[in-house]
Symmetry: C2
Amino acid sequence: MSLDRQQKRTTIYDLAELAGTSASAVSAVLNGNWKKRRISKQLAEKITRIAEEQGYALNMQASLLRREKSHIIGMIVPKYDNRYFGSIVELFETMARDKGLFPLITCTRRDPALEIEAARTMLSYQVDCVIATGATDPDRITELCAAAGVRTINLDLPGKLAPSVISDNFAGARELTRRILVSCHQRFGAMEPLMFVGGRGGDHNTMERLRGFRQAHADHGIDLEDDRVIACGYAPEKAQSALQERAASGLPFSRGMFVNSTITLEGVLRWLRLAGPVSEQEFALGCFDYDPLVALLGDNIEMVRQDVPAMLTRMFELIEHGSFEPTVSEIPPLLR
Amino acid sequence: MSLDRQQKRTTIYDLAELAGTSASAVSAVLNGNWKKRRISKQLAEKITRIAEEQGYALNMQASLLRREKSHIIGMIVPKYDNRYFGSIVELFETMARDKGLFPLITCTRRDPALEIEAARTMLSYQVDCVIATGATDPDRITELCAAAGVRTINLDLPGKLAPSVISDNFAGARELTRRILVSCHQRFGAMEPLMFVGGRGGDHNTMERLRGFRQAHADHGIDLEDDRVIACGYAPEKAQSALQERAASGLPFSRGMFVNSTITLEGVLRWLRLAGPVSEQEFALGCFDYDPLVALLGDNIEMVRQDVPAMLTRMFELIEHGSFEPTVSEIPPLLR
DNA sequence: AAATCTTGCTTCATCGATTGAGCAAGTGCG
DNA sequence: CGCACTTGCTCAATCGATGAAGCAAGATTT
């Protein structure tokens, strides 16, 4: 590693010397409370000018060491490979900056060990708050942070120890399922039970979506056997091979499918292309998540879009109001 | 903002007191060079145990203030809304961590002012190195960082003042164009000139891709008028309305199109759906960038996938070898 | 026995910014 | 003139971790 820095950086002491004043005055001027510290306007202007000329940059480490709050807000995300998490991160950065906070983001690739490691690192960087997004074990993160006096908020997947902001998975799934059923009925005449593909049996979102999925079937008086549910994880390859296996098993296959994410949808579509029992047009699909490219895949795919702006707005509200109780805010997703 | 931290955190002084030793010994033990500092194994173990019991977390700010290198490596990215940048960020984080560096990532939404602001902030955080990815003005960033003695590397888009790692846009575009032309020929019989949609006329990548696009036409002895090039930016809406306008203008329309990114492709496909002169199947499309969902859109879309692992590997090589000369490394993209 | 070396620590200055306390000069008032 | 008050600054301690220098006690050499 050669990331060598040659010259040493300009400090407030250098500026003080150049301006013929004290470091204390320079600090007061540059961090904006020179009025409170009774520094004259002339000196303030002089210091500001010299700082600009010298290309002075504050040493955050030194500044943060002295201050009690860092105004750093950490976010742990599982992946950057889909529009949902991408927009969460992008909007989070923007909103955090607008509120005067510094966003620090880490991607853990759904690796539980990395999640904990990431939380620990964030604590070292003195974050004021950690947002655990889609974490496999949010409560572990909360415990770790609580021990350091740092609060956490869960996003996308809820935890039991900190406030959570998630989509209303039940309602979204119920409505999505209803639409797929209706589409199946209109296009194929039959009202047969759908299949549910993707997600992890243990995770809260998958369970809630499954509940909505079952409810929609019940709403239409359709019997649903347990073997129609294939919670094979989110990865495309997993979905593809699970469908392959399922097809080989000889169990009945539905022409309507509820797919748990756009990532899983990739696997489902690939399987349909390569080995699907009938043409792709003979399927009615629904996807819990939105991607504009999926919208272009054809009219036979319904989508539910999670309301990222509303979720983040709620999240920052929780931060601002200092809520610590493990409440769950369910944000209605957008259909169409 | 209430991000209040209640208790104050455990420091090495607290641990020293508990262990009946000095802060210096605690520091030496916890940062791993206790052997060099001749601390006994017993004391080392005692300190380690107490640190764990107390859930001690290093104060990075204090540590970094004292050290000369921060081992923080910054990356500036324009967007998180596509697979290309998503995989760059994800792999960058992984590789940086493997090399013992701490990745600090900031998204600037292609806003030139934010880019500069982001670079400045990174300097405040004492980064050892900044990677400017797809920056609108990479040289400005390099200048700013150089003034603070911080090196930069340009990724995706080259600059004149620092080493750059980019795709071989010319070769990639030439081959992609060739394939679209062949596909057009096979499917529609004709060898007509293609259209080029998306990108910004000024940016290096667009210019190089255009050069490859023109070269491929020349290779096949096809005349290409300038009005077939629509460099309307990357946004889908821009592409959609530009195509709309172009169709209205009465100028000749090609059945083959070279689209400059998956994001732009969204707009192209939307326009084809809504207002395309003939069915989508009557078009041969090529896209400079890869998205697995696009691969599912049909067989009539060729794609070029930029070789992100090779690009990042090269980038870290440049860092390790301490190269400062503004060389340009062109990484061949992957076709299929 | 004296000189030297080794072991295992501690002491203290330092990194750069922040902030309470303090101080000198000037202003206002009776 | 003397006292209080304001203005405009400087001084010095501090945040937590680090590491060069130093020191005491025991081990080894001459």
